[in-house]
């Protein structure tokens, strides 16, 4: 299977949309316009997009506290997301979830998650649903290097293996769980952990969209064909702090700047498709302009959007009358 021109344009647009979305959230948060906590995905775009391009509405993903990119990659509406992050009534979750709980089950996005390691068991459930109802769907759990040390994650590897579930576990290793380096916090290696559960693991450079896309294709096909779960260990970098407001003093001198200059996912993608004559610079420049306008529009509308009211406080707790 090859990426068509339309696939490439779509992939670039999604990655650019995530970058613009996160840069805008960064600016608005810095200006004091966004309440609560936000954790930004900028720098990691090739992972979410390279993986979710293989998924459709039958398929489910569970995300992390750093969930905006996964949402966009899986097809959540960016306008509804921006409203949600601003805490507005027309947000994807009515303003009740916020950045850490953005979800849209109708597109198979089972939620960002405020609990590190909360997602993998849920993905076993989505995979069990797909297997039981024979939908052909697969389920993908995104976890960070931090969640890769949680027991829920290990237990989910085991359950997915012994039940032969159509699941993929993606360890997005950005090098830091909060301020703690994964070279220190992760005993052994992700690949050896996968091997311990009898799962294949592919290590992939998460700045390289094409490498992610290819590795994800294999893992997702394997799951879809009933051949069981596997792991992708994706190494990448985040451009902002663990949360907005994090001074990032724990990273090395010039670390982020070096990555931006040498390995930026959007830059690598552009260089690759231009060198191989797959797309023109003009195609992507046009996307850049369109996406920038779209995000400005989302922010402007979200800022002006209505807040939920007291009448909304007690709704949506239960399905039936309580």
């Amino acid at each position: 299977m090859q990426l068509s021109r339309n696939d490439l344009l779509a992939a670039y647009r999604k990655m650019r949309l995530i970058r613009e979305f996160e840069d805008a959230v960064h600016e608005e948060f810095s200006a004091g316009n966004i309440p609560g906590f936000v954790h930004l995905y900028a720098g990691e775009e090739a992972s979410g997009v390279g993986i979710c391009m293989h998924l459709d509405d039958r398929d489910a993903i569970a995300s992390t506290h750093r969930g905006h990119g996964h949402c966009i990659a899986k097809g959540c509406d960016e306008r509804g997301m921006m409203f949600e992050i601003f805490g507005k009534k027309d947000g994807l979750c009515g303003g009740k979830g916020g950045s850490m709980h953005i979800a849209d089950l109708s597109v198979g996005m089972m939620g960002a998650n405020g609990i590190v390691g909360g997602g993998p068991p849920l993905i076993c459930g989505a995979a069990l649903t797909a297997k039981t109802l024979k939908t052909g769907g697969v389920a993908v759990a995104f976890v960070g290097d931090g969640a890769s040390n949680q027991g829920t994650t290990f237990e989910s590897y085991n359950l997915a293996k012994v039940w032969n579930l159509p699941a993929v576990f993606v360890v997005e290793d950005n090098g830091y769980a909060e301020s703690t380096a994964s070279v220190w916090s992760v005993g052994g290696s992700q690949a050896a952990r996968a091997a311990g559960f009898g799962m294949p693991c592919t290590e992939v450079d998460g700045h390289d969209f094409f490498a992610v896309w290819e590795a994800a294709r294999e893992a997702i096909e394997r799951a879809r064909n009933g051949e069981g779960p596997s792991m992708l260990h994706v190494r990448l970098n985040r451009y902002y702090g663990h949360f907005e407001g994090d001074a990032i003093s724990y990273k090395g001198e010039g670390e982020i700047e070096r990555v931006k200059a040498e390995k930026d996912a959007l830059m690598l993608f552009r260089n690759r498709v231009i060198e191989t004559s797959l797309l023109d610079a003009g195609d992507m420049d046009a996307i850049d302009r369109e996406v920038k306008e779209r995000i400005v529009q989302c922010v402007t509308e979200a800022k002006a959007g209505a807040s939920p009211t007291e009448a909304d406080l007690l709704t949506d707790v239960y399905t039936s009358a309580y």
Binding site: C93, D104, P121, C124, G125, T152
Partner: protein
């Protein structure tokens, strides 16, 4: 009407719902038993044999033995519920909630609210609770107040076989996450249970005795003790109303308030530890809503504030019993009783 045990009533409810709806699956540790082993299949049917015989009739595709991995399979059940199945997961002893509580209270309970009302999570968790089995501190607790505290969860405590079948059937058909507490000392209790499927609505208390002097509100197994106490007291000239709320969440406040207003005296019987339990919850409710109608201070009959002891000599003192309920009623009645 045919007589069936609490165990049979639960088994029947599960079977009937599995037959009615192919989305209903069950999972848990040894819920069938013998998975992957060379010997007998369906060896256990759960540790108390409650689900025995279901696997041969419905296959291992819908009766899923799990590894000992509560975090993964309770979370899996939550995720499966949010994506189209109606799982009934067995958390063998409620004491084991410590290793999977996140998946219940931070995930399943909150999906609907956090996701702006768009999630439906028809998850049922069956779990065993209660003392009296010489099972000691980590296999005997009554942790329903902890679940009752969490918005988004519903909590049912069936007090006899009829209640068990009706409440469990309702739980499986309910679109919200429900925890059904089965008292481990009641599985052999027998009672009249219709063969056909039926539901008991949540939040509608059952008044098992009607009297003029004292209202006793009791939960789960304690309902039976309260009935026995009421029958004994009747002979002594004290007439009691006994209320079985059936569910602690939702709670039938109206029946509790109305029956307490009629008698003016309240005794609450709760096998849970005394702090922040259902007894304190209901005494708080009644005190706030109808303080002026009370003729005496409300009485709480609960387990003490200590872990459940192992020694039979100690456990027998620990569990609230009929004599303590009668004493509390006499206390509420005042001098001369």
């Amino acid at each position: 009407m045919p007589k069936k045990s609490y165990r049979q009533a639960i088994n029947e409810a599960i079977r009937q719902e599995m037959a009615r709806d192919e989305r209903v699956i069950i999972m848990g540790e040894d819920i069938s038993g013998g998975m992957g082993a060379p010997g007998e299949q369906d060896a256990w049917g759960g540790p108390m044999g409650v689900t025995k015989g279901i696997m041969p009739d419905f296959s291992r595709d819908r009766v899923l033995d799990t590894p000992i991995t509560e975090s993964a399979f309770i979370g899996c059940a939550a995720g499966a519920a949010a994506t189209g199945l109606r799982p009934v997961a067995e958390l063998m002893f409620v004491d084991f909630m410590g290793v999977c509580f996140d998946q219940i209270f931070n995930q399943a309970a909150k999906f609907k609210y956090m996701f702006g009302g768009k999630a439906v999570t028809p998850l049922t968790i069956r779990t065993m609770y209660g003392a009296g089995f010489r099972a000691a501190s980590q296999h005997s607790q009554c942790l329903y107040p902890l679940f009752t505290h969490i918005p988004g969860l519903k909590v049912a405590l069936p007090s006899n076989p009829y209640e068990a079948k009706g409440l469990l059937t309702q739980a499986i058909r309910d679109d919200d996450p429900v925890i059904v507490f089965e008292h481990k000392a009641m599985y052999d209790d027998e009672g009249e249970v219709p063969d056909e499927a039926y539901t008991i609505p949540f939040g509608e208390a059952n008044v098992t005795r009607e009297g003029d002097d004292v209202t006793i509100v009791a939960f789960g197994r304690m309902v039976n003790f309260a009935n026995e106490a009421a029958d004994n007291l009747e002979k002594a000239g004290i007439s009691c109303t006994v209320v079985d709320p059936r569910t602690t969440s939702p709670l039938d406040r109206d029946t509790i308030l109305e029956t307490t207003e009629e008698t003016g005296r309240l005794v609450v019987v709760d096998e849970a530890h005394p702090r922040c339990n259902m007894a304190s919850d209901i005494v708080g409710l009644v005190s706030q809503e109808m303080f002026g109608a009370l003729k005496a201070a409300p009485q709480m009959v609960t387990a003490p504030h200590c872990p459940v002891p192992f020694s039979p000599a100690l456990e027998d003192i620990y569990v609230p019993g009929v004599a303590r309920i009668e004493a509390a009623v006499r206390q509420a009645m005042g001098k001369g009783h």
